[in-house]
């Protein structure tokens, strides 16, 4: 099993959700996060006082899938979240040791 963790532009969420639903991925966890990579922040001015905001709002999507589906999912997610500009975000893929469904003790792929 693999866990795909994607940091994306917040406004891309709907497109990503639709694309993932389109390939049959129906579970995900989403959180609002702040961070920055190479994208520069922006400037805000309040009554002449300047503030540089370098931590920008992003969304983190976490999905766990079986090994066989990992490449397809990453491809779909990348295509859906891409604008081609700096700030599109990153995808990280992790090995997952075990998955357990709390309701009935299903394990492994069956729990996904």
């Amino acid at each position: 099993m693999k866990k795909i963790e994607a940091i994306i532009q917040p406004f891309k969420l709907d497109e990503v959700k639709e694309a993932l639903a389109g390939i049959g991925v129906d579970g995900m966890t989403i959180s609002e996060v702040r961070g920055h990579g190479r994208q520069k922040g922006h400037k805000e001015v309040y009554r002449g006082r300047e503030y540089t905001v370098d931590l920008l709002p992003k969304l983190k999507i976490e999905v766990v899938v079986g090994d066989a589906r990992c490449d397809e999912l990453v491809k779909t997610l990348t295509a859906a979240a891409r604008t081609g500009k700096i700030g599109d975000g990153k995808i990280f893929v992790y090995e997952v040791a075990e998955a357990i469904r709390i309701r009935n003790d299903d394990r492994g792929d069956a729990a996904l």
């Binding site: 309040y46 009554r47 002449g48 006082r49 300047e50 503030y51």
Partner: protein
Amino acid sequence: MKYLSLLTVLPVVAWAQNTAGLQAKVTALEAATRSAQSAGDNAWMLTSAALVLMMTGPGLALFYGGLVRRKNVLATMMQSFILMALVTVVWAVVGYSLAFGEGTPFVGGLRYALLNGVGSAPNPDYAATIPHQTFMIYQLMFAIITPALITGAFAERMKFSAMLLFMVLWMLIVYLPMAHMVWGKGGFLNAALGGRIPCFDFAGGTVVHITSGVSALVTALYLGKRLGYPHEDMKPHNLVISFIGACLLWVGWFGFNAGSALAASSLATSAFVATHFGAAAAALGWVVAEWRRSGKPSVLGAISGCVAGLVAITPASGFVKPFPALLIGFLAGILCYFMVAKVKQKLGYDDSLDAFGVHGCGGTLGALLTGVFATAAVNQGFKGPLGLVDGHPGQIWNQAIGCAIAWVLAIVGTLIVLKICDALIGLRVTASQETEGLDVSLHGEEGYILEA
């Protein structure tokens, strides 16, 4: 012959009877007219009093509350709100009397202490058509908002207990004497009721805005900067509530300025128009200046400009025509922007919410320009030419003296008050309270509980 003379007398008798009836009718009509005018004026003045209270709560409380950091929103709003209560009590006990009772040229006497003699009969010296009590409650609303304006300068770092004492003493030492000098019968600067130096201040440029703005600066300097200023992030936490507050201030200001005509008269209309025009032009002035200098026209800039214009037009509102009002507003928008965005940064003092930059500077500008643009064509309540445009340049000098007295009284009075509070209670919260935020550390509450 006998009958003939009787014939000539008869119509005279009838005529005399007629005039007696007519006289009674005229008297009744006069009384009815007076009562109708009084009803109209009283309706407007009570409405105005409510509008001016609305400026403090929620107007100013929201405006200031949005500009502080999230951890201090309640403490900041509480400062405005508690003044609505505290000043009312001071006003009832001695405040009204010290401002409006006859006394020395510099402070009123005690004839109205405990509101003695302040009832439904009008006080013809101040407002002949409304109950004295209406006049008293209307003036109270000014006494409430003035100290509340100062709270912007010491926001996020002053002890609540010290603030309460500060405000009571400040009323007694600064506000009430200044109000008496400008508006009280026999006051030193009173233009209408026998002052030595007639200074025009229709709705409180000197009494409200210079005193509060200058005292704000003194307090900010005395208290020192907030921890972490200026390198730490101190962005306004909620400009949406500041926006609502500023809009309430704009509307409430119609009560403040147009109400200062003390009647539902054409002068009230003129002041209403001038007030609106001043606010509009100042919002544009600030936005244009900011847009040119920092590249973007901000919402905070627009609402700050509007308040600056309302401040500047306050002393002038009952004396100037609409176009001078536009000009005064526009100049105030630009001047206050540069005071807040440039001069404050250069000098490095921490007037947290710019009470001085907006009220001190806008108030002084407005008071001086009143001497330029005041005209008898707008205000017929005075003899002879009023300002420079009427051919009386000397009025600018009178206005300058009024401003100077307000500045000196504010500086000296506030320093005395601060020294007393510092010695008795101590002014600042502890560093850990300041870091934690005043909402939790002083009031035991939080403004926003997102998980609740």
